[in-house]
């Protein structure tokens, strides 16, 4: 392996400054990052052979520049953005929801212009012309707009700054002055490139003091192979020729054993491969392992897998503050405020452990559950007052009420409609967080601390800003701030480092793994600006995509040349489709195949993966294969009562009955304001019951009066529902349209001789079982009519009529009518559905069997079934597809996993 650039540098510095020893502080060394600075210090100390040494100033370009005195006050970016926002808002050019985004884009552009010393012409016309020429286009509205926007705001912002400097401007001024401070030699080590201003600074420095550039070697077996794979010359010979030439010079590959590529079939496998490889390296005793993160998703997954194996990761890439739980609670709070406290937001807040952290977990849990239960039972509501009203419907509601009141107090400091300065909003936000009891939790959380200190920093910076903003604008601003801020957990020291490619410069790793090396992520195309295009950028002197590609390639080459073990991982399959590897590795693999008949694929990792699974912390014996469940009951567990609808459930599927009635499980209601079909049915039942109580006999009253009464009852019954659900009107219309038909039907029925007798009757009947036990069948009869000695039981149906006919025809399969007949007792002349939802008519669909006989058969079967249950005959799960389709017990019976269709 070639001697490392760091030790070369140390040697060079010591040789050149031998006379200064032990105090090298006169000299300055520029390095790409502080990791490299650390390494260089060490190399100097070791190589100089002295007990103590004052090192040269070893620094990065920005840090070096920052040592110069400043000439003007700093204009922090937050204030620039606020100024720009107001200027843009005044111009009325963009939609307000868009403004912060445009501000960001503009500031990014302005910084680029500053840093690359691009000067905008004084006149707009000249700038427009410059752009036009760069685009090679005619003028047009779009171009004029772009030019005017940039030009105008650039100058406006400069004027508004009142002489304060933004960070980029300050950096350029400091750069310009740096050379003047030259007091000793300068060494520039391994920097991949310079902006024009940096280059100018170095050039001026070189006029005053010796300046030495130290760059990595460009030759060596690995480097030659790489430069053959990725030639700088676009007109290089075809790859096959280059490969053969290379092979001629290097009969064996310098890369075999050094670099291997692994295309995973899924995200999970990619992450598994990464974690396994890292663990293999650790097992081999490697001390410094880098995972170069190209794909954040895979990295998060891989980190979780490593943590399973108790391998902690020092993650230098961090993640945006916006993705931390601490930000979540902040933004959810603001969303709740600006959204008028929708119940989803409030529930989410109450379930967050960050809120009301001063209360115990049980009370908090209760608060959430109480609110949730209230909403499930009584429908959703919005606004804290609305929610409080809902909650008061419950008997137990103190926890929820208390929590809602806390929210209300905290909300009082953040009035949504007032315009305040950003600093003011920030201060109030901090107050509200205190009032919510959130502050406590946030300071004890690493990300929470960073969030709080970000808020404090911005508040201070923005104190001088007098622009006024609404809460919604403030929320959007804060979202952007949290999005931009990167949270890096510095609390882990580990040999395993997740980092960026650029951060590997001049660092020392035993092994490195590139994670997410597919074409979409390497090079990837993040950070494209909405302004200009590549050609214009080039013309103006701004860096282009080509520049960043060159830089990435440089870093890749250095990494591969300096790290002895490299793995390249990517997802070769995505959503069942092929996903290409990064073009760099595509070329490298192809070249390698051509030169040495080996495509560098990692075959070992694939075979190891299935065996490298980590054993669970507390392994348990494996479960048994799933079977059709057939629970049996002890006699004591058999219910003594069964409702008519439960009887139907038992017919449809005994296991469903078991789960619903024996285990007494049921699904939670949806939180929904919409009038469900069941609710509609209940309303209509109640309306009709009231109607018949009012008019036990309809004949004799004019039909118009009957209809009017029915209509009035309907309106009264629907009124409370309509307040919550506008679309309940539809149901009301639906029923109202049937009213005349219902009256006609009732009159016709009375003509036949039937008289309404009673409604909503709770009936129960108990039958003896052979073991001395009993079974009670119960149900509610919607209505009973009589005709002389004979009686009829009627069941109102508000659903579609289609299925009802079948049910009336099949007393053995739908037990409602026969069971009602049974409950009604002797002399049942008719058992019928009343189909209330027919096409402009009401229909009586009578049981097609003799009611008494059907009742007998129903009783017999009921008795037989319960005798069998008492005798521990199992309750198998065997619903027909039609029953299973909507069955909420599917997760319990495990139907989808049964091994075979039941016989």
């Amino acid at each position: 392996m070639q001697p490392d650039l760091i030790s070369q540098t140390a040697r060079r510095i010591l040789a050149q400054l031998a006379g200064d020893l032990p105090d090298l502080s006169r000299a300055c060394v520029l390095v790409p990052n502080f990791h490299a600075a650390r390494r260089l210090e060490q190399a100097l100390a070791v190589q100089c052979g002295l007990p103590y040494l004052i090192p040269p100033r070893i620094t990065t370009f920005p840090a070096w520049a920052a040592t110069l005195p400043v000439t003007a006050a700093l204009l922090p970016d937050s204030r620039r953005a606020a100024l720009l926002y107001q200027a843009l808002k005044a111009s009325g050019r963009f939609d307000s929801a868009d403004l912060w985004g445009v501000c960001d884009e503009l500031l990014r552009l302005f910084d680029e212009l500053t840093l690359h010393a691009v000067h905008l012409p004084d006149s707009l016309a000249a700038f427009t012309e410059q752009l036009r020429a760069a685009y090679q286009a005619r003028r047009g509205r779009g171009l004029d707009f772009e030019a005017r926007l940039i030009h105008e705001l650039w100058y406006a912002l400069a004027a508004d700054a009142h002489g304060a400097q933004d960070a980029a401007a300050r950096y350029t001024l400091q750069l310009a002055a740096l050379a003047e401070t030259a007091a000793g030699p300068l060494f520039v080590v391994g920097l991949p490139g310079y902006s024009p201003l940096e280059q100018a600074c170095l050039d001026r420095y070189a006029e005053r003091q010796p300046l030495v550039y130290l760059t990595p070697d460009t030759h060596g077996a690995v480097l030659d192979a790489l430069s053959t794979a990725w030639p700088a010359d676009p007109h290089a010979a075809p790859i096959k020729q280059r490969a053969h030439a290379l092979r001629h010079i290097q009969p064996t590959s310098p890369l075999t054993g050094r670099l291997a590529c692994f295309g995973a079939v899924s995200l999970e496998q990619e992450a598994q491969a990464c974690a396994t490889q890292v663990r293999l390296w650790l097992a081999e005793g490697k001390q410094r392992i880098a995972v170069i993160v190209q794909d954040r998703l895979s990295a998060r997954r891989a980190r979780a897998l490593l943590e399973r194996a108790q391998v902690l990761v020092a993650d230098e890439t961090g993640w945006t503050l916006a993705t931390t739980a601490a930000s979540t609670v902040l933004m959810r709070w603001l969303e709740a405020l600006t959204g008028g406290f929708r119940f989803e937001d409030v529930l989410d807040l109450l379930k967050s452990p960050y809120l009301l952290a001063d209360q115990d977990a049980v009370t908090r849990g209760q608060a959430a559950w109480q609110l949730e239960s209230a909403l499930r039972r009584h429908g959703p509501a919005a606004g804290l007052n609305g929610l409080k009203t809902r909650v008061r419907n419950l008997a137990e509601h103190s926890a929820a009420l208390g929590a809602l009141e806390r929210l209300q107090q905290a909300a009082a400091v953040l009035p949504p409609r007032t315009e305040l300065t950003l600093a003011d909003w920030l201060a109030r936000l901090a107050n509200s967080l205190n009032a919510l009891g959130a502050h406590e939790r946030l300071v004890h959380d690493a990300a929470g601390q960073q969030v709080l200190s970000l808020l404090a920093r911005r508040e201070h910076e923005l104190l001088p800003d007098s622009g006024r903003f609404q809460l919604a604008e403030f929320r959007r601003w804060l979202a952007g701030e949290l999005e931009r801020a990167v949270f890096v957990d510095t609390g882990i020291d580990s040999p395993v480092v997740f980092t960026h490619l650029a951060a590997t410069r001049l660092r020392d790793f035993d092994a490195a793994l590139i994670l997410g090396a597919d074409a979409a992520h390497l090079p990837g195309n993040a950070g494209a600006s909405v302004f200009f295009n590549q050609r214009v950028r080039r013309e103006l002197g701004l860096p282009t995509q080509d520049d960043s590609l060159r830089q990435t390639q440089y870093d890749l080459v250095q990494l591969i040349a300096n790290v002895a073990h490299i793995r390249v991982l990517w997802r070769a399959w995505q959503d069942g489709e092929r996903n290409p590897v990064s073009p760099w590795f595509e070329r490298l693999q192809t070249l390698h195949q051509l030169a040495w008949n080996d495509d560098l694929a990692d075959t070992r990792l694939a075979t190891l993966l299935p065996h490298a699974q980590l054993a669970a912390p507390a392994p348990a014996p494996p479960p048994t294969p799933t079977r059709v469940p057939r629970p049996t009951l002890d006699s004591a567990q058999v219910p003594a009562r069964i409702s008519v609808s439960a009887y139907n459930s038992l017919l449809a599927c005994p296991y469903q009955y078991f789960a619903r009635q024996v285990l007494r499980l049921n699904a939670l209601d949806e939180i929904s304001s919409e009038l469900a079909k069941v609710d509609y049915g209940q309303l209509v039942h109640a309306i009709l019951h009231r109607f018949h109580q009012t008019h036990p006999v309809a004949a004799g009253t004019p039909p118009e009066t009957l209809a009017a009464d029915l209509l009035q009852f309907t309106e009264e019954a629907f009124a409370p529902v309509l307040a919550d659900d506008y679309f309940a009107h539809a149901w009301q219309h639906r029923w109202a349209a049937q009213i005349p038909h219902y009256v006609a039907w009732q009159l016709a029925r009375e003509q036949e001789g039937w008289r309404w007798q009673a409604g909503e009757i709770d009936a129960a009947e108990t039958f003896d079982l052979d073991n001395g036990q009993h079974i009670t069948l119960y149900g509610r009869l919607d209505r009973v009519d009589s005709l002389q000695a004979s009686r009829a039981v009627l069941d109102y149906k508000t659903g579609g009529t289609a299925g009802l006919k079948d049910k009336a025809r099949n007393p053995g399969e739908d037990t409602q009518l026969p069971a009602y007949a049974l409950l009604l007792g002797e002399d049942v002349g008719q058992a019928a559905f009343v189909a209330l939802d027919g096409e402009q008519k009401i229909e009586t669909l009578a049981l097609e069997a003799e009611p008494d006989a059907a009742a007998d058969a129903t009783r017999e079967r009921l008795v037989r079934l319960f005798e069998q249950l008492h005798a521990s005959v199992p309750l198998p799960a065997h619903g027909a597809d039609s029953a299973c389709q909507w069955c909420e017990m599917r997760g319990l019976c495990r139907k989808d996993y049964w091994p075979e269709a039941q016989s």
């Binding site: 779009g142 926007l149 079939v265 399973r308 902690l312 739980a325 295009n533 699974q613 079934l865």
Partner: protein, 1094 residues
């Protein structure tokens, strides 16, 4: 045209070409070959734009191009020559092109910008990203799923309506709700929303879209919308006179007629309203369907009774009166449909506005917006031109795939673009491929006729028009059956022209199995079914189960027995993966899947949006729901029953009868007292552990913990039937991936995650996540819908449920007509059940019906042409006689008209060779380092660098550095800003001031009093460790080493003792660095005391 001639034209890079190519003819080959030819012709990659219809197809094309370019770069010269010759490179040019061919691989890989292979939507998005800023689209992103937004739009509309009960919009809604009910109203307005692209186009440029649309309808109305049709008719004295004459004669006719006449006379003479009277007349003269009753006809007997001429007059009047009534009725119907449209269009437009506003507030666009915005952008010549130069890529060659699936708006975009390019004399070379026979996306707005239109447009501009009806995919017997099937419906399905098979020698087979018949009804002896012993079953399911059993049995006879001619490996026996099962709709899929499972046939269903319905995913979602809502008993019960804990029903019974409010309380109590079964005993602590993490960990990390400590993957593998295991693993992985990806990992709270998942679940198929894809390597039968199988092929294709009739079309939806090539639709209206369709819509209904018929054939064509070698057709008995696919294929095939089944082609059954010496794949034994299955504790938690003590020091130093002379001290606030407003600033600032103000310390800070001074002097010791000394000051007599301490209260002795060692190290360093000078060390306490360390 020979294949060579065909390719010469089709692949000529300078020639615009339109290709109508049948299924299996190698469209992708052609397209990618064309790209290769373009690249060979020195076209820069950035000038090529290829557009296809699915991301999958785009990726496939990309992969194929990569493969070919790599081949050209790496293969032997002769192979490359052959490759070029195959792609019609002129023989004389081959040699010269060879170097370029070899270099293309790298040229294309490293091109910036590269070649664009994309879908319309993806490409439109890149266009939008570069849209002029003034359009205000900057910062918009694509909405991943719009279901929630749609629901919110409904809520917002309802709120508006509730607030303004008297507004005309509210009245419209009330009337619509009363008229067609909530369900249909929702269906109708949702359908309207789904066709918003057409709506925008139809009403483009109109300030009041709905008013405009309504006005269009009014113009088409046969009668004024407010006209009193019945009143006018009954006010027409001449007609009324005829009517009376008619009724008089009618009263002489049959008894039925006499009744009719009486009813009419009653209605006419009583002073009933005109409308009621009209209704009575209609009811008498017209049938329910609105036709003239056939009760009054000529018959000899009647003629004798009434007299010939009287009867003739009666019959004549019956027709005249009836016809007039019919037209009046139609006019009234038209008025009704018009009213209905007035209401519904305005409501639809209002709903759409709400939806658009919501998206705008969230800065998102949906696909319809993207399409419409691009159409707008390119329709404006100024903006179109801006885009042309703003895009980094300047396309000169456009390849359009699957053009039959293009919609009119997309064509409009292309047209504007071409028009602008033509004007600038930069018309790109277009290569357009498609097959109108494979157009099956009309329900999404695709318009197959655009293929012809675009073809002609290009032909006029010099494009060559080629057709290709030779399939490389299907074997001759399959091709023959396809030909015969469609020959039989030639007059109805003119798109089809007979195909030929590229390779006439391949063997193949088609089987049409008999339809499964309903089983004999078993008469139950006596009493009712006992549900404990006998499951319920209905005939429809039984029939389908029979078909499914047939499927499973036959597949097991085929796999391992039939000989497949594999393109790559040559002949081999059939495997499961060779079989593709097709269904038209998913409705009955579970029945078939059950049969496959029972027969141990591994299968994979590509079910869009199926992930959240999978049992295992449901289990884990239940677990998460339980963790946020521990009171939810059913969720807990489900989790316990799942393989996670594998509790038995008896465990559940135990919990059901235990003491305690919720199951979770009961479970913990039982476990605490060790009264629970081992399974429950295991569940309690694990659940408690997960519960304690639920609020703190991001969802993904929580799931990871659950997967790991709950051994999820292994336990599911042990519990589930083997056929399902690969799918289960994939689904479990996919759930993790969903947890990582949802909302880009933003704001990760568990309730929010569940809410999002809930929304995805409600969204239905299109936007909800797909089931996890199992690795390609699985050997499994695949099940697809025909729509989902487009672009796929398989050696053996099984078309299921072919006995079913065509799916019924939706009622309550949109009726549009967008003539191909027009900038906007010619018609846009809404319709409902048969009372809500009017005569002025008739032409459009007819057109719709024609399209639907054609698409039904297209669908069958697509299904049949998926097969490479064998096609099997089965179905369940049908009421539709032969008007179904099964019947159509069977009658094309059978020789005996009564045959219930038929087969055709070669017998593919080949006995297994006596012994198949298959060399076992070389087993690479993985040598796993010991301990790799165990944790490897690595790394440690340290105090974060930003802990307050350290940062206090940093701040203090920074302040001293900036305010100590000779620096000119800045104001505190400014410095605070510079330093990023650290929390420690204020106290550090005071600290620093104190030091500077302490007279005793002045000599260390006053430049006049010292020789030299360094802040933070760094030195290295021999080990390379860096140390920093807070301040080193050279006074006249000695060099002082100073160290600032922030803690106060410690005594001098304590401080001296505490920092002795540290300062001694400093001392010896400074001695070395300043040899011969006395070095004195001191600690400076926060209160300004100077404590010298001896």
């Amino acid at each position: 045209m020979t294949p060579a001639e065909f390719n010469r034209t089709a692949l000529d890079p300078g020639q615009a070409v339109v290709v109508e190519a049948c299924a299996g003819s190698g469209k992708t080959w052609l397209l990618v070959s064309r790209m290769v030819r373009l690249l060979l012709d020195e076209v820069p990659a950035s000038e090529i734009l290829a557009i296809t219809f699915t991301r999958k197809a785009a990726r496939e094309m990309r992969a194929r191009l990569d493969d070919w370019l790599r081949f050209m770069a790496t293969a032997e010269d002769d192979a490359v020559r052959a490759f070029l010759a195959e792609r019609a490179v002129p023989p004389e040019a081959i040699e010269a092109l060879l170097p370029r061919a070899r270099g293309l691989f790298e040229t294309v890989l490293s091109a910036q910008p590269g070649i664009t292979i994309s879908t319309f939507h993806a490409w439109f998005l890149t266009v939008i990203e570069r849209a002029p800023l003034e359009v205000g689209l900057a910062g918009f992103t694509l909405a991943e799923q719009t279901h929630e937004l749609e629901a919110k739009a409904w809520e917002a509309l309802a709120d508006d309506l509730a607030r303004a009960p008297a507004a005309s919009l509210t009245v419209a809604m009330q009337s619509l709700l009363a008229d067609i009910g909530l369900y249909n109203t929702r269906a109708l307005l949702s359908a309207f929303m789904a066709r918003r692209g057409e709506w925008w186009a139809f009403t483009e440029g109109q300030p009041d879209r709905a008013a405009y649309a309504v006005a269009q309808l009014e113009a088409a109305l046969p009668v004024a919308p407010g006209a009193d049709v019945a009143g006018d008719l009954l006010g027409d004295a001449a007609w009324v006179a005829l009517l009376w004459e008619y009724l008089k004669l009618l009263a002489l006719h049959t008894p039925t007629s006499i009744k009719m006449a009486q009813a009419c006379e009653l209605a006419l003479s009583a002073s009933t309203a005109a409308d009621d009277c009209f209704d009575a007349l209609c009811a008498a003269l017209l049938t329910q369907q609105g036709e003239i009753r056939k009760t009054v006809t000529h018959s000899a007997a009647q003629a004798k009774k009434m007299g010939e001429s009287v009867l003739l007059r009666l019959v004549e009047l019956h027709q005249t009166i009836g016809t007039r009534l019919m037209s009046a009725q139609a006019a009234r119907q038209a008025q009704r449909v018009y009213q209905f449209n007035c209401q519904a269009l305005r409501l639809g437009d209002a709903l759409l506005e709400q939806y658009q506003a919501l998206k705008h507030a969230r800065r998102v666009l949906d696909f319809a917006d993207v399409e419409w915005q691009v159409a707008q952008l390119l329709g404006d010549s100024d903006q179109a031109e801006y885009l042309q130069y703003k895009l980094d890529a300047r396309y000169r060659h456009i390849l359009l795939d699957e053009f039959q699936d293009t919609n009119p708006l997309q064509w409009r975009v292309l047209q504007s673009w071409f028009a602008a390019a033509e004007q600038a004399d930069r018309m790109p070379t277009v290569f357009l491929v498609g097959d109108p026979k494979q157009s099956i996306y009309r329900f999404r707005g695709a318009e197959a006729q655009l293929f012809d239109l675009a073809g002609n447009y290009l032909k006029e501009r010099g494009a060559a028009y080629l057709t290709q009806s030779t399939t490389r995919r299907s074997a001759p017997p399959v091709v023959q059956v396809v030909n015969q099937t469609f020959a039989a419906v030639e007059h109805e399905y003119t798109l089809f022209k007979p195909h030929t098979a590229h390779d006439g020698q391949r063997s193949g087979r088609v089987e049409v199995l008999p339809l499964a018949q309903p089983p004999e009804q078993v008469i139950v002896e006596h009493g009712y079914r006992n549900p404990l012993t006998t499951p319920y079953s209905d005939t429809d399911t039984q029939m389908r189960e029979l078909e499914a059993q047939q499927l499973a049995q036959r597949l097991n006879q085929i796999v391992g027995h039939w000989l497949i001619d594999d393109e790559k490996t040559g002949a081999r026996h059939a495997e499961y993966r060779d079989v593709m099962i097709l269904v038209r709709s998913r409705t009955h899929l579970p029945v078939y899947e059950r049969a496959l499972k029972a027969a141990h046939i591994p299968f994979a269903t590509t079910r869009r949006g199926g992930l959240l319905e999978a049992l295992e995913v449901g289990d884990l979602l239940s677990l998460l729901a339980f963790l946020v809502t521990p009171d939810a008993d059913l969720h807990l019960a489900r989790v316990l029953r799942s393989p996670l804990f594998d509790c038995a029903d008896s465990d559940l019974l135990t919990l059901a009868s235990a003491e305690g409010n919720t199951w979770w309380q009961r479970l913990r109590a039982l476990a605490d007292n060790a009264h629970a079964s081992p399974a429950l005993q295991r569940a309690a602590p694990l659940l408690a552990d997960w519960h304690s993490r639920a609020g703190r960990l991001p969802v993904h990390d929580l799931l990871d913990t659950i997967y790991f400590s709950g051994e999820v993957q292994a336990r599911y593998a042990a519990a589930a039937p083997s056929a399902l295991i690969p799918g289960i693993h994939a689904n479990l992985d996919a759930l993790l991936e969903l947890a990582l990806a949802i909302e880009g990992g933003r704001y990760p709270s568990l309730p929010r995650f569940l809410h999002e998942v809930d929304l995805l679940q409600q969204t239905g198929n299109d936007a909800s996540p797909d089931e996890g894809k199992t690795a390609q390597l699985d050997n499994a039968v695949t099940l697809h819908t025909i729509h989902g199988a487009k672009g796929l092929e398989a050696p053996i294709v099984w078309l299921l449920d072919a006995g079913a009739r065509k799916a019924r079309a939706d009622a309550y939806t949109v009726l549009t007509d967008w003539p191909p090539g027009a900038v906007r639709p010619a018609h846009f209206s809404l319709y409902g059940d048969k009372t809500l369709r009017a005569s002025f819509q008739a032409d459009f209904f007819d057109a719709e019906a024609r399209h639907a018929r054609r698409e039904n054939f297209n669908l069958l064509y697509v299904a049949m042409t998926r097969a490479r070698q064998a096609l099997i057709v089965s179905g369940a008995s049908s009421k539709s006689q032969n008007d179904n696919w099964h019947g159509q294929i069977l009658s094309a095939l059978r020789t005996d008209a009564d045959a219930k089944s038929a087969s055709f082609g070669t017998d593919l059954d080949a006995p297994l060779p006596a012994s198949t010496p298959v060399a076992p794949p070389p087993v690479t034994r993985a040598v796993l380092p010991p301990g790799l299955n165990q944790p490897q504790p690595t790394g440690r938690r340290i105090a974060p660098v930003s802990s307050s003590e350290i940062s206090y020091g940093i701040v203090l130093h920074a302040i001293l550095e900036r305010i100590a002379p000779p620096a000119s001290a800045p104001a505190a606030t400014a410095l605070k800003t510079e330093l990023g407003n650290p929390a420690e600033f204020d106290s550090a600032w005071q600290h620093a001031q104190r030091l500077l103000d302490t007279p005793l310390l002045a000599r260390f800070f006053d430049p006049a009093q010292y020789r030299f001074a360094h802040n933070e002097l760094a030195y290295l010791n021999a080990d390379g460790e860096a140390r920093r000394i807070d301040r080193v000051v050279g006074l006249a007599d000695a060099v002082w080493v100073l160290d600032y301490k922030s803690g106060s209260g410690a005594s001098a002795a304590q401080l001296a003792a505490r920092h002795h060692a540290q300062l001694e190290d400093y001392r010896s360093a400074i001695r070395h660095l300043h040899p011969g000078q006395p070095v004195r060390c001191a600690v400076i306490a926060a209160d300004g005391r100077l404590i010298e360390i001896e």
